[in-house]
Symmetry: C2
Subunit: 408 residues, 2 copies
Amino acid sequence: NINGDRLWDSLMEMAKIGKTAKDGVCRLALTDLDRESRDLFIKWCKDEGCSIRIDKMGNIFARREGKNPDLPPIVAGSHLDSQPTGGKYDGVYGVLSGLEVIRTLNDAKYETEAPVEVVCWTNEEGSRFAPAMVSSGVFAKVFDLGYGHSRADIDGKTMGEELKRIGYMGDDEATIDAHPMGAYFEAHIEQGPILEDEGMDIGIVTDAQGQRWYEITLTGVEAHAGPTPMTSRKDALLGAARIIELVNKIGLDRGPLACATVGMMQIHPNSRNVIPGRVFLTVDFRHPDDAVLADMDAVLRKGVEDIKSGIGLECEFEQIFYYAPVPFDPSCVDAVRKGAERGGYKAREIVSGAGHDACYLAQVTPTAMIFIPCVDGISHNEIEEVHKHWSDAGGQVLLDAVLAKADE
Amino acid sequence: NINGDRLWDSLMEMAKIGKTAKDGVCRLALTDLDRESRDLFIKWCKDEGCSIRIDKMGNIFARREGKNPDLPPIVAGSHLDSQPTGGKYDGVYGVLSGLEVIRTLNDAKYETEAPVEVVCWTNEEGSRFAPAMVSSGVFAKVFDLGYGHSRADIDGKTMGEELKRIGYMGDDEATIDAHPMGAYFEAHIEQGPILEDEGMDIGIVTDAQGQRWYEITLTGVEAHAGPTPMTSRKDALLGAARIIELVNKIGLDRGPLACATVGMMQIHPNSRNVIPGRVFLTVDFRHPDDAVLADMDAVLRKGVEDIKSGIGLECEFEQIFYYAPVPFDPSCVDAVRKGAERGGYKAREIVSGAGHDACYLAQVTPTAMIFIPCVDGISHNEIEEVHKHWSDAGGQVLLDAVLAKADE
Ligand SMILES: NC(=O)NCCC(=O)O
Ligand SMILES: NC(=O)NCCC(=O)O
C-alpha cells in the first residue's frame, strides 16, 4: 500500500514553489519557478535510486529498473507547470503519485517485471505557450520538434530558448520511437463537479472530449474617443465583444456537454480615450462528439465573418489546435477499474472535460487515466482543493494499475 | 510674423523623442522620454532668455518679461506627453507654437505690456495616469495636490513618485493663486474631421463638450474552460462584452454629438483555457449638453446593474472623472477670431470634442483655444498628420491673440 501521508507531504512541499498570496500556485512553464520544481522532482527521484533522462522538449523520465530491462517501461506521470492563478494539485498530483508508486515499490523491495518510470511533461497548461500539451504532443508525433521549440509566449520568448535558459533542453530524442512504453497512466484531479457531487472517490476515465482552439485578431482604426463620431468608427473591441457573445451562445445552444470560452484578450493600444484599433482574442471549444465540434467550428467562422463585415474590420482567424475526442485503452481502463475495486473505493466511469498529456499518449501507447475529485469542481483557480482521502485513493489505484501492467 | 519653418523644425525635433516604428510618438507622462522632452523644451526656452518655474505637479512655466512685470502674464501652452500610439502634434503643437510666439517677439525685439509665458502641463493625456488633464485640474483647484500626486499607473507607480524620479517635482505651489494669469490660449489639432472636410485652416473654439469617465470591475469565478458547464459559469468577460455593446448603443442612440467608448480592459487571469474571473474596463462618455450626459450616465448605471445580475457577477462601479461642457471666454474667443481675420485664414467656430487643459483653465482665467485641422481627423494614432500651412496659420493666430491680450 502507498504511504498517503508521504504523498501529501510531497504535494505540500512542491506547492511552496510559486505559492501565491491566496495559497494557490503560479508556476508558468519554463520560468525559474518551473526549473525549481523540476530540480526538486529530480532530487526526489534520485533519492529513490532512479536514473534520469531528459529529452529535447524538456520532458523528464525517472526510471526504476525491472527484472527484465528489455521490456518497455510502464510509465506514470503528468506535469508540474501551472496556470497563472493555478492550484496545488493540477498536474502535480499525477507526477507525485507516480513518484509515490516508486517509493512504495522501494519500501517493499518489490521487483517488477517491466521497468517503471515517472514522467514530467513540459508545458501542459498551454497558458504561457499555446497550445496545451505541446511536449507530449511532440512525443506522440502530433507536432514536430521545430514546432514545439518555436512556440512563443506573449513577449516572443520561445520554448526552445527558454528550455536552454533554464537548463532543461535534454539530449534524448523527444518521441515515442526513442522511448517506447508498455503503457501510460495519468492520475489527475477531475477539474469538474461530477465525482464530488455523487460522493465518488475515483473516476475511471474512459474518454476525453475533443478540443479546438482559435486565435483571432481584429483590426480597425484607432482614433480619439472624443471627436470621432460613432458612425465613422471601426472599433476592434466592439467586434471582440460580439465574438464573445457569439462564442457563449455557441456553447449554450449545444447542450450540457458543450463548452465554449474566450479566456484571453489583448487590446491595443488599451488607452481609456482611444478607440481600440486592434484586439487579439482566443477561443476554446470542447465537445465529446467530433461532429458537434465541427458544427461549432462552422458557426464560429460564419459568425465572425458577419461581425467583422458589420463593423468594417480586418480579421485574421486561425485554428491553432485541434484534437478529436480520445477513447482510452480498454485493458488500461480495466486495470484502473480493478484497482478501484480492490481498494473498495466508490468509483464511476467518466469522460474528461479537460485535455491531458494522456490524450496524446493514447495515440501511441495503451493509456488510461485515474481521476480524483476536487472541491466544488474548481480548478485553474488558486482555491483548487482536494481532500486527503481522495489523494490516498488515487495513489493506491495508480499503484495497482501500474503493477498490473508491469507484471503482466 | 511667426517663422513657420522654425516652428515646424522644432516639432520634428521634438518628435524624435519617443519616435515609434510607424513614425508616431510614444512618450507617456513622467517616463524617461517625457523627461527628455521637458529638458529639451526648457533648453529652448532658456536659449530665448526665459526664466523657468516648475510647480509641484511638474507644470513648467517659461517667462518672457513684459514692460510691466506686475501685470499677470498672458500664457500659451499645452502638453508634451502622448498616447501609447500617439502622434507628433497632439499637445506638442500648443507648447511649441507658444515657444514660437516668444521667439518671434525676441526676433522683433518687441516689448509687450504684460509678461508672456509658455506652459507645459503634466499628464494631459490621462493614458498612463487617469484622469486626463490632472495637473491643469490641480492648478485650477478642481483637484487637490494630494489627489494629483496619488494618481497611479497600472503598475501602481504614482504621479508623485514619478515626478520625483524624473526630477520634475518643482517648488512652486500648483495653483492659479500662486500663479495668476491675465489670459490663457491653447493651440491644438482638432482631432476630428470637420475643419479639413470644410477646407478651413483655423477653428475658433467656442466650447468644449462635457465628459464622464468610469471604471468598472466585474468579478465572477475563474474556472477551467473544459469541464465547467456553460450554465454554471460566472464569466466576467461575458459581462464586459455586454457592457461594451451597451456603451456603443448609448452613444449611437443619442445622435451625432454623443460619443461613448470602452478604450481599456484588463482580463484576469487572461489564460486561454480559464474562464475569466475578473475584468476591469473603462468607459468614456462625451456630449456638449450636460443633460444628455446625465441621461447617458443613468442608462449606463441601470444597464450595468442588469448585466451583472444576469450573469451573477459582483461589480464595482465608479465615475472617476466628470466635467460639464465648458464655454470659453468671449473676449479671448474674439481675440482668436480677429487673429484669423487679420491673417486672412479660412476659419469657423467649432466645439472641441476632446478635453484639453484649457477646459480647466477656463474655470479660473479668461481662456480660448485655436484649432488647426489634422489629416482625416485622425489623432491618438501614430499616423496623426498635419499640413505645414495649417501649422503656420495656427502659430500666427496664436501670436496675434497673445499680443492682443498682452497689450490690452
Ligand atoms: N488539465 C488541464 O488543465 N489541462 C490543460 C489543457 C486544457 O485546457 O484542457
Ligand atoms: N486632447 C486630448 O487628446 N486630450 C486627452 C483628453 C481627452 O480624452 O479628451
